[in-house]
């Protein structure tokens, strides 16, 4: 049985490669019983979408009011 830490890693992996069928089943089983990991999985999907949209003019600021500090 996967724990949340392993699951979080597997969720990230799933964004990189096809999971084996064993991994997929393990992941699915854990997500069924764990709401927190379900959130995590959804949130990573949102994160990926956000990055795509970040790379567009819509994510830019007006030149005048932006001064970033790092």
């Amino acid at each position: 049985m996967l724990n949340c830490k392993d699951t979080s890693r597997l969720v990230s992996e799933s964004q990189e490669r096809h999971l084996s069928w064993v991994e997929r089943i393990q992941l699915r089983l854990h997500l069924i019983i764990c709401g927190r990991c379900r959130h995590f999985s959804k949130n990573l999907d949102s994160l990926r979408t956000a990055l795509r949209q970040f790379n567009s003019p819509n994510a830019d600021v007006n030149k005048d009011n932006h001064d970033s500090s790092h």
């Binding site: 949340c4 979080s8 990230s12 990189e16 990926r48 790379n55 567009s56 819509n58 600021v61 790092h70």
Partner: protein, 209 residues
Amino acid sequence: MQSENQDTVPNEDLASVFNDENYVKSLQATLLQFARMQLSDHQLAEDAVQEALIGAMKNAQSFHGRAAFKTWVFAILKNKIADILRKRHHSAEINNQGDDDSTDEEQLSRLFNERGHWHKGLAPNHWHDPEHAFKQEQFWRVLETCLEKLPARQAKVFLMRETLGLDSEEICAQEGLSTSNLHVLLYRARMRLQTCLEMRWFSEEDRHA
């Protein structure tokens, strides 16, 4: 959020943006300010900034927004600076960015208890209406901040993956990483970003609704 200037031209070609002298000067100044804070040697800082800009230019056509491009240039610059500092000190990696493996591992491990379950207060929550967030300028500033907080190496490979759209093989080849190294870096970046966005945006949803 519309302005009369060039920033919101759809499908802007970032490569042509370099013809805009004011833009380049302003970007260079910001980069230089950052580099000088990290490196005492002004010449070294200027060189690092030049190299970062030239390096970033290679992928300019993949960027369609200035915020994303700026984040990318900064990631390259941070890595250059980390390389310089590492050489200067000759020894083990400079740890101020948390790039050090054991520090990062440690920080992320704190999210989980001894049985590997999420710690109660630190577990991911439901993000209410991300699409609504994407329509708000302030959200993008928060995302930018979260990206800027990533350790240099994580930031660079994460952007290569999620913004340049390079696949694992290409990134590994360019960065001299094994696939498993890369996946670990991406995992850590995602964990940090998830936490950061949740803390700085989605957990304050009442404010932003």
